[in-house]
């Protein structure tokens, strides 16, 4: 693996302006690759929701997800990206735990949330590869918006599902925490 690749783990996000290549491995998680074609600023997150998000009533998973998306958008804007020019590609949301029905699976709800969010924010979804049962390895070139996607059969990459299940506990605890308040 090339050392210039920056790996994005569950719950992380990163914005870049020098053409860095962002890399992530996804099972049921979803990565949003956001890109402003004019400034060449791009960024990626890696989202695992703590539950099914209700974007009409803003329950805890929805608030957690909105914050994950907004944090990435704000990082890009701080570097000089224009929110109105940002386009998105999304990947992941696979069904990695066969004992749960697809309808209620984590993959489905993670992907659904990101799609709904982008629609609400009028951010064009220019490409996506979501669902199915394969694990995906994504390489995202942050200054051109290009994505290289490698599919991995689930039986060859069991640890992804295990990692995600483990991360879910941490994410749930993290989502319970609110930001700090300061009065001047």
């Amino acid at each position: 693996m090339n050392s210039s690749h920056i790996r994005i783990n569950i719950g992380e996000c990163r914005a870049c302006k020098n053409g860095e290549v962002l890399l992530t491995v996804l099972g049921s998680c979803v990565a949003a690759c956001l890109f402003d074609p004019v400034s060449g600023i791009g960024g990626m997150n890696h989202i695992l929701l703590p539950g099914k998000a209700d974007l009409n009533h803003f329950d805890l998973p929805a608030r957690y997800g909105v914050n994950a998306m907004e944090t990435l958008i704000n990082k890009m804007m701080r570097m000089g990206a224009d929110r109105k020019r940002i386009v998105a590609k999304i990947f992941g949301g696979a069904h990695v735990i066969p004992t749960i029905s697809r309808e209620f699976g984590m993959g489905r709800r993670n992907a659904q949330f990101v799609e709904e969010f982008l629609q609400k924010e009028s951010i064009p979804l220019v490409n996506s590869d979501i669902g199915g049962t394969d694990t995906r390895k994504i390489f995202f070139r942050s200054n051109t918006g290009e994505v290289f996607l490698k599919r991995i059969r689930p039986n060859l990459y069991k640890e992804v599902a295990a990692q995600e299940e483990k991360a879910l506990k941490t994410i749930r605890e993290k989502a319970e925490k609110a930001g700090e308040i300061t009065f001047f």
Partner: protein, 122 residues
Amino acid sequence: MAKSIMTVDDSASIRQMVSFTLENAGFSVLEAVDGEDALEKLNKNAVNMLFVDLNMPKMDGIELIRRVRANPQYKFVPIIMLTTESQASKKQAGKEAGATGWIVKPFKPEQLLNVIRKVLRE
């Protein structure tokens, strides 16, 4: 009459989230998409309090607070920054511009209402 609160944020989701929380608590809410939009709406409508995001196109939160504070009508109106930023230098800039307080996102609905109760003395 219900007190009126303005939410200024370039994110539609955040605006809806704030509006949903405040309207459920009985406040009337005015939404603005950036600093310029906020100033325009403040010229036509009086509000009792503002929640302001930091990074926004056209006019950011710090500049908006400076402009709002320059208007005698809004010299003492509570203005709370609601942002993903938590660096001390940004907070200092917010304080100097005239912000009343600073909330780091993500927020919990009850947190927002507690802040309102505190600054509006409800």
